[in-house]
Structures are given as C-alpha cells and as structure tokens.
C-alpha cells in the first residue's frame, strides 16, 4: 500500500514536469515557425513595432548567473575551508550558523535591503541610476552563497568522518588534511554545488526585477541596466493575452526550462562519471 502510494507520488511528479514541458512546447510551437523565429532571436524588444527579440534577455540571464557565481563560489569555498580546518574551531560553528540563517532570509528582503543601500551607493559612484547588472550581481551572490556553502559543508562533513582517523594516523595537520585530502576527494561535490548555485542564480526573479533596471538591452557594462528572462516574464505576463508579446513569453519559459534541464543533466553526468571513476 505504502509502496503504491509512493509510486503514485513519483508518477505525479514526473508527469507534472513532462506536462509543463509539453505545454511550453505546445504554446511556443507557433513561434518557432517561419519568420516568427527570426523575430524572436533578434536583439530588439519593441513589441509595438512587432519586434520580439529575446536575445538580450537570454544574454542577461546567462551573464548575471555566471558573474554572480564567479563572486559567490570562491567566497563559499573559502567559508567552507575556513569552517573545516583552515580557521580556528571556535569560529567555525557560529560562521555556519550565520550562513544557515542567511539561507532562510526571503529573497524579497535581500532585494529590498539592496534597493535602499546598495543601489544609492552605486548611483552615487557612477552617472547611472544605480539599478544595474552590478547591483543584481552582488545581491544574487549573497543569495546563492548559503546554498553553495550548505552543500559543500555537507560534503566535507561526510568526507571528514571517513578520513579523519586516517589523516590523524598519517600525522596530517587539519590544514594539510583539507588541502591534500578533503578538497581533492570532493571534486564531484564541488561541481554539484557550483551547478546548483548557478541554477539558483539563473532562476531568481525578484532580485533582477527589483535591482537590475530591466532595460531590454545586451549586457555590455556592469553599470548598465539589464533584463533577465525571469524578470521579463514577470513584467510582460500582465500584457494583452492575445498579443504576440504575450505569446513570446512561452519561448522565454521554454528556454529557461531547457537551461535548467541542461544544468540538471550536467549534474547527473558528473555524478555518474565520478561514480564510474571511483
């Protein structure tokens, strides 16, 4: 009975994902035919002139996710190494508690705080309005950091319980243990954390919507406003539901969905690859 229930639950979840994909494909199919496709893959979003280019949004989404990971990932790795041997023991626990607390702060709070502190700071230091790639990047980095730290922390804890005795028997210091054993052994955890953090940064809607300025232009400068796919959907969804602009949202949704799927497939590949080697 219990097993049957579990099967049902699994089937429902799997069907839900497939149904979402099917719907997205079904609704965006008309867009992928003929000259509509050219309109979609152009650099200009001017719905009133019948230009529905979403390339700036795709570029902005990728640029923002990659750049925020470039900031968040090294920081998260540093925090984990610090908490697992490179730093003093008394500081490790409070640090991890603080990071856990960070992960439970709602996104909108980060967005709000950044809008009233970070944005005026950037505005004062530049000639722009402060709503830009940089503001969203830094805030997203803070947002994604705890996700990465918690994943790495789990990985390190599991490994340490396995290798602690061996390391001690070999006379390794904790620093040596971290650098020589834990880090090299957790390569797959390191990649997984990176990919999940990337997914978090790519999928976030509120931070770019509130902080990135939402101008539909290619991301060429850190101080220029940009519009991500997620923010774009949020902005355009209230539009005339019979318009081509509205229909182009399904293509945005499909592309976001496919990017997420790609990230997941990448994750799976790395996991199986590592198991094969191990």
């Amino acid at each position: 009975m219990a097993a049957r229930l579990l099967y049902c639950a699994a089937a429902v979840s799997a069907l839900a994902v497939l149904a979402i994909l099917a719907f997205l494909v079904y609704f965006s199919l008309p867009l992928f035919q003929g000259d509509q496709l050219a309109a979609l893959f152009s650099w200009h979003w001017r719905p009133l002139q019948n230009e529905f280019g979403i390339l700036p949004m795709i570029a902005a989404s990728l640029a923002l996710a990659v750049s925020s990971m470039l900031v968040a990932y090294p920081l998260a790795l540093g925090v984990c190494c610090f908490a697992h041997g490179l730093g003093p023991d008394w500081a490790a626990r409070p640090l991890l508690v603080a990071v856990r607390l960070m992960s439970s702060v709602p996104t909108v709070v980060y967005g709000l705080v950044a809008a009233f502190s970070l944005v005026p700071l950037i505005r004062g230091a530049s000639s722009g309005s402060g709503l830009c790639w940089l503001a969203a990047l830094l805030t997203l980095a803070v947002l994604a950091l705890p996700t990465i730290v918690l994943l790495l922390d789990n990985q390190f804890q599991r490994l340490e319980s396995e290798i602690r005795l061996t390391a001690a028997a070999l006379g390794l210091t904790r620093v040596q243990e971290m650098l020589q054993l834990t880090l090299p052994l957790s390569s797959r955890g390191l990649v997984m954390a990176a990919i999940l953090g990337f997914g978090r940064a790519l999928g976030d809607t509120l931070v770019p919507l509130m902080l990135a300025g939402n101008a539909p232009q290619p991301p060429l400068s850190l101080l220029d406003p940009m519009r991500t796919l997620t923010a774009h959907i949020a902005l355009v969804v209230a539009t005339d539901s019979q318009s081509a602009a509205y229909n182009s949202l399904f293509a945005c949704g499909l592309i976001l969905f496919l990017l997420t799927v790609l990230v997941n497939l990448g994750l799976r590949r790395i996991r199986t690859g590592a198991t094969a080697h191990g």
């Binding site: 001017r46 709503l131 939402n214 355009v236 209230a238 602009a245």
Partner: protein, 280 residues
C-alpha cells in the same frame, strides 16, 4: 440652563435621527437593487480599480449578507483573460480592450472613471516646467542631461513601465505621440514602484497616475499646465485614460446590478474618494 441643554440635546438627537434616516433611505435606494438577491460576484484585473471595487463590495455585502463579492488584482491582461475564460464575472482594465480581445471573448466594456498620467521627477530637481516636446526628446534619448532642459549638469535617469501598463499606454500615445522610448530606460513594474524609484533618485524622470502624486515626488507643469484632477476634468490637461469594467456578453442579474451601482451616484462618490474622476 439645564432645561436648555436638554432641549438642545433633544433637538440634536432628533436631527441626527432624521439625517441618519435620510442617509439610510438614500443608500438603501441604491442598494435596493441588491435586496432579496443572493449569490456571488468575482472581480479581477486592473490594480487602479481596486479601492473603488472594494469599497462598493463592502457596502453591498453589509446591506445584503447573502451576496459575496471577491476582488482580486493581477493587472489589465489578467482581467481580460479571466473574464474571457469565464473564471470571474467582471475583469477590470486600465486600457481599452484590443479588437482581438473583443473578438475572441465577446466582451462588453463599461468605462466608469478618468485617470490622468503625469510626468514625475524628484522633489530635489529644480526643473519646474517641461514642454511636451522636451519630454518626447528626453524619453527618445535625444536630451540626456538635465542641463538641456534648464536643470543641473547631471545625466537624466529614465524610468518607464512595462508594455502591459495602462499608464504607459496613455503616456506613450498622448504625451510621447507614439514616439520612441530608448531601450536603456529602467523599467519598473507598477505605479508604486515608479513612485519610490523617482522619489529616491534625484536625477530621475518617470510618469505616474495622478492619483499617485504626493509630496515624495514632483510633477513639473506640462506646457505650463499643472497635472491636477481639476485640469484633467476641464480638459486642460490632456494626458488622461479611462478605467473600464468588462463582462462577457451583456451583464445579467447581480453583475448588472453591481455595474449600475458603480455607475450610480454612490459609485461616483466612491470613485472620486479614491482619487479618480467619475465619468457620469
């Protein structure tokens, strides 16, 4: 003395009772349409309408507890879609319906209020008047420094709304004369967000519904005309839009009663109290 007070009090009480009765009679007169009816009305869509809708819903439900009225937000696009699919009885929009929308769903529109749209800058900005042409050039990106319109030497920070916005539509049609808005302009998602963005940024320029103007933002006069409700009413200030209620086909029963109530004297008072200009 005591007698006088008693007498005065009695008079006052009498007057109060009389006026209460009169008011009651007036209100009941309009709410009579709902007497003996039961059922529910679901409303969704445009956010500008909500204060008026909620006020009306409260009064009707107080007069007749057998009627339930729900009011949800979502924006003009959502309003059209929901009423068109039959998910709600009334879908509100801050813009006229497109021909496609009317054709697909067979919707009927009822305009009940007028709302103006004003250019907004920071109160710290010294610019007190802009011509329509200057505004057009600013939003087209041709004037990019406040110096160009008599302000301080600083880059102009442009703020606009998304294409779904009814506020943007009227601003673009009537003030920009369908001219371009540069792609580098920041885009905010609501009148409220526009207000806080412009209030915080001393070099900002944006536009808001007149109902949203207060001391945190400044509205420069447009070609010398102040964007006030009075000027919008008299026609001196031309950047105005209508607020609509939409139904699928001709409204029936409760739904028709509700729309009549909004269009009636009580509805007109509530519309005015919410900061809009009643149309009837």
């Amino acid at each position: 003395m005591k007698r006088f007070i008693t007498h005065g009090t009695r008079c006052l009480t009498l007057a109060l009772i009389c006026s209460a009765l009169l008011a009651g009679a007036a209100a009941a007169g309009e709410l009579d349409a709902f007497a003996g009816k039961k059922g529910k009305i679901d409303i969704a869509g445009g956010t500008a309408h909500i204060p008026v809708m909620k006020d009306a819903a409260k009064r009707i439900m107080q007069a007749n507890p057998e009627i339930r009225i729900s009011v949800a937000a979502g924006g003009s696009g959502v309003g059209v879609q929901k009423v068109g699919e039959g998910l709600v009885d009334i879908g509100n929009t801050g813009r006229p319906l497109s021909d496609d929308e009317v054709a697909k769903y067979g919707l009927k529109s009822f305009a009940f209020a007028l709302d103006g749209v004003a250019v907004a800058v920071s109160p710290k900005n010294s610019v007190a008047n802009l011509t329509a042409e200057q505004v057009q050039q600013i939003f087209a990106g041709k004037i990019s420094n406040w110096k160009g319109v008599g302000g301080r030497d600083a880059a102009i920070h442009l703020y606009t709304r998304d294409e779904a916005s009814g506020t943007r539509e009227v601003f673009w049609e009537k003030l920009l004369k369908k001219g371009a808005i540069v792609e580098t302009a920041n885009v905010v998602a609501s009148n409220g967000a526009m207000k806080s963005a412009v209030a915080d940024d001393s070099d900002a320029i944006g536009y808001v519904s007149i109902g949203h103007l207060d001391e945190t933002i400044k509205a420069p006069t447009l070609d010398g005309v102040a964007p006030t409700q009075e000027n919008a009413r008299s026609g001196k200030y031309p950047i105005v839009r209508k607020l609509y209620m939409n139904t699928k086909g001709t409204p029936q029963g409760l739904c028709a009663a509700f729309i009549n109530y909004i269009m009636g004297p009580e509805g007109i008072r509530m519309t005015a109290a919410a900061g809009y200009l009643p149309l009837h």
